[in-house]
Symmetry: C2
Subunit: 203 residues, 2 copies
């Protein structure tokens, strides 16, 4: 089985429960961890460097980015956010599978740079179910729910560019499917040339 | 999840136990069946048409082949053997996954014709283990074992052209891996465009 860990890109519109699916995958699957983002914003109370984010200065962030060390990045409310390549390389080279939870735009940037990354898109069972979930949260006005649904529609239309789609109608089932995808991807022949050679050599 | 069944090409050298792995997959996985070959040889005692083989005349075999209705074919000891497309289409259109156990040469022919088929190559843990298994059978002279090992080496060198490789060191584990590959393949975005559309429409 592949010696290097996978880089998994996990996307899906807000309200699909992809965070819960991811939590389940991380707790049930061996040697699997969540990618940590870099940011130039100040740490909030209780946030730890290297766990919640890699906190860094604007200068350091931009230097890493210029050196090609950010898989993707975006500016949001005057702060930079991005995915540093170095820690991912470090983990995957040790055989650890790294999951990156990211929006579609960021996901495309990463897929472009890491061709053998695995894109998984979490779908809601239906737009109706998604609307229901967003309203159940009870934290947003109907107009905000409607704008989230519009954004979701645009994102879902891009799901076909991912490698896999998983419908989250049941957390258990959806997280099991994500695990199955990861197990299968590790068996891809293209990731296992060394294994084939080893079988042939061990005579 | 994909409405159409998969066509899985299962290959691996003699002695890797791919038959046992396959039996386990067929008995444990829902809606999964073995592809039945066509042949022009006479049925042996107890062999049933449509179960062991589709028995047919030379004329019928060649007519189907000329019409593009054989996914692969080969002549062996004066008889034709081949994989008829029609029954596979019939099953996969009903959502049944069909597994085709076939040698590398036949596997390549099928993959060329059915681009979205899934090629899985069963590897022995090592050439040493394969030799051990072949000798344990006790049915062949050492020279025959050696020629099987040579053939195995040539086949294994082509494993990298398959989509997936699975090492059969434990039947349970290997058959579970084949099932995981099949589950994952059914979630491929390219197989699920209709599903994405359905989510978007169901508003």
């Amino acid at each position: 089985m592949s010696e290097n860990g996978l880089l998994v890109i996990l996307s899906g519109p807000s309200g699909t429960g992809k965070g819960t699916v991811l939590k389940k995958v991380l707790s049930s699957r061996k040697n699997t961890m969540l990618s940590v983002s870099a940011t130039t914003r100040k740490p909030r109370d209780g946030e730890k460097d290297g766990a919640d984010y890699y906190f860094m200065t604007r200068e350091k962030f931009l230097r890493i980015k210029e050196d090609g060390g950010m898989l993707e990045s975006a500016e949001y409310c005057g702060n930079f956010y991005g995915t540093p390549l170095a820690p991912i390389k470090d983990w995957t080279s040790k055989g650890v599978d790294v999951v990156l939870e990211i929006d579609v735009q960021g996901g495309f940037q990463v897929k472009n740079k890491v061709k053998d990354s695995v894109g998984i898109f979490i779908l809601p069972p239906s737009m109706e179910a998604l609307g229901h979930r967003l309203r159940k949260r009870g934290t947003e006005e109907e107009s905000a729910v409607q704008s989230r649904l519009s954004a979701a529609r645009l994102e879902i239309a891009k799901a076909v560019s991912y490698d896999y789609v998983v419908v989250n109608d049941e957390i258990e089932k959806a997280s099991d499917m994500v695990c199955r995808i990861m197990d299968a991807e590790k068996l891809r022949a293209a990731r296992n040339e060394h294994l084939i050679e080893r079988v042939l050599k061990n005579d």
